[in-house]
């Protein structure tokens, strides 16, 4: 707020010339915005939230990710872009689906968690229905989930990607 120092007199003139309720609302809205940032609880206080973006270092050199592909009735295989299918949810809905993919893999054992598979398959059914409604001429036959890894520092970039199939969903 120190950055407002050069214009403090003019802001003061404006605020003192308007009804108190408006001046109070102006000041209170900024106080609440900054207070929410200090509280730092993005989910708990909505519609208030904290503002952070790329605030902690990312130091790992390899990254695990999930790829979604669909085999269509025509035999063609294409990558599924969740943001195109559900634009209201976009990238962050995709992350939630990624989390449910993580849940089907029991860490260490290499086995598959059947309860998590049911939850994931329900979502994949919704994705298939949505895809079919947008492309009725070539509906989804199978959705494949791939576990990928990529180097985050290698100058070879996309050529460092490796992936393996971890799950298939067959649409009815």
């Amino acid at each position: 707020m120190t950055l407002l120092w050069p214009v403090r007199a003019r802001i003061g003139t404006i605020l003192s010339a308007i009804p108190h309720r408006y001046a109070l609302f102006s000041v209170a809205s900024l106080v609440v915005l900054i207070g929410a940032q200090a509280a730092g609880e993005g989910e708990a206080f909505y519609p208030l939230t904290d503002f952070s973006m790329y605030t902690t270092s990312l130091l790992k050199d390899r990254h695990r990710f999930v790829d979604y592909t669909a085999e269509l009735s025509s035999g063609r295989e294409e990558r599924l872009l969740i943001g195109q299918l559900f634009p209201a949810g976009g990238m962050y809905l995709r992350r939630r689906i990624d989390d449910s993919v993580d849940a089907i893999e029991s860490p260490g054992s290499g086995s598959i968690n059947p309860v998590a598979v049911d939850a994931l398959d329900a979502m994949l059914a919704a994705i298939a229905r949505k895809y079919d409604s947008l492309h009725p001429g070539d509906p989804v036959r199978t959705i494949r989930i791939w576990r990928g890894t990529v180097s985050l520092r290698d100058p070879k970039g996309s050529s460092t990607i490796s992936r393996r199939l971890i799950h298939e969903y067959h649409a009815r």
Binding site: A44, Y54, T55, S57, R94, K156
Partner: protein, 298 residues
């Protein structure tokens, strides 16, 4: 100072722009699609956490989502047009809008992309934003323009604060290390392997060119600098122009490289920080709209 000559007409134009933006958002992202997604993927956020699961089972069905969507579209239209009983209509619109956005966040997480636009809608509902360019029969603009200036200034300061808070948080949490350890390149690579709209994986390609990598590492520092000092846009014309020269390309490049689209912010920058009066004057539109200078450089 920025917006020190704003009038009822400027605030009315901002009202039409912001509520119009939300109408565009509603048309672009039909939230009725969310009815397709299993309820297990929905986690209510903030004030919406108090509502029981049975409420959400009913509310997230397609017919009810369609009714909400339609009601919100009508209310946004009425608010944007500045109908009689504007404040009441606009406040109800903002409550529904907050609810609508909260439902979307329940399927994702609370992201700050649309938050500034939501808060500015509330500011426009509370202040007398329908004293010009409205469907009210006899709008009586205030004899003093101070209340309109206060409204636009509050919206602008709040908008700039959202940038400042991000920049300050990054320096406080990440320290100097975050700018020196190559984190931004890893963010680029990580985000580009999980595309949601564009599948080109451009962020990963950046790693293949050392010159580009260096440019993005330096750019990360520059963007953070401008974020932290965002509020100077109010008092310095030169800083504001530099800020625009940095932030607009950053927002545009964020989409293909980081898979992040700041559409609301780009649209808000266009009305809150771009010299619209200068542009209107050059296009000969100023007399027609009857607007006094929106901005005066210091």
């Amino acid at each position: 100072m920025l917006h020190e000559n704003a009038t009822a007409r400027h605030l009315a134009l901002l009202r039409m722009w912001v509520f119009g933006m939300w109408i565009g958002d509603l048309l672009k992202d039909p939230s009725t699609d969310l009815a397709e997604i299993p309820l297990a993927y929905y986690q209510p956020v903030g004030v919406l956490q108090g509502l029981p699961t049975s409420f959400w089972e009913a509310a997230l069905s397609e017919p009810l989502l369609q009714i909400w969507w339609g009601a919100l579209a009508v209310l946004l239209l009425l608010s944007g047009a500045g109908v009689p009983f504007y404040r009441g209509v606009a406040l109800v619109t903002c409550v529904l809008l907050t609810f609508y956005q909260g439902v979307i966040f329940g399927f994702t997480s609370v992201t700050h992309g649309p938050i500034a636009a939501l808060y500015i809608a509330w500011i426009l509902a509370v202040f007398p934003s329908a004293d010009a360019f409205s469907l009210r029969r006899n709008p009586k603009p205030s004899p003093s323009n101070h209340v309109y200036q206060a409204a636009i200034l509050t919206a602008t300061v709040l908008f700039l604060c959202t940038y400042m808070l991000v920049g300050v948080r990054r320096v406080v949490d990440g320290g100097i290390d975050i700018f020196l350890d190559g984190s931004i390149l890893r963010f680029l690579a990580r985000n580009s392997v999980s595309p949601d709209h564009l599948s080109q994986r451009l962020g990963l390609r950046v790693l293949e060119y050392p010159g580009l990598s260096t440019m993005f590492e330096v750019g990360f520092v520059i963007v953070t600098f401008f974020e932290i000092f965002s509020l100077l846009c109010l008092s310095s014309k030169w800083f504001r122009r530099s800020w625009l020269a940095v932030m607009l390309p950053f927002h545009v490049l964020s989409w293909p490289l980081l898979q992040l689209l700041f559409l609301h912010n780009i649209l808000l920058i266009c009305v809150l920080l771009v010299d619209l009066d200068g542009i209107a004057e050059r296009l000969g539109m100023k007399r027609r709209l009857g607007i006094a200078p929106l901005m005066r450089g210091t």
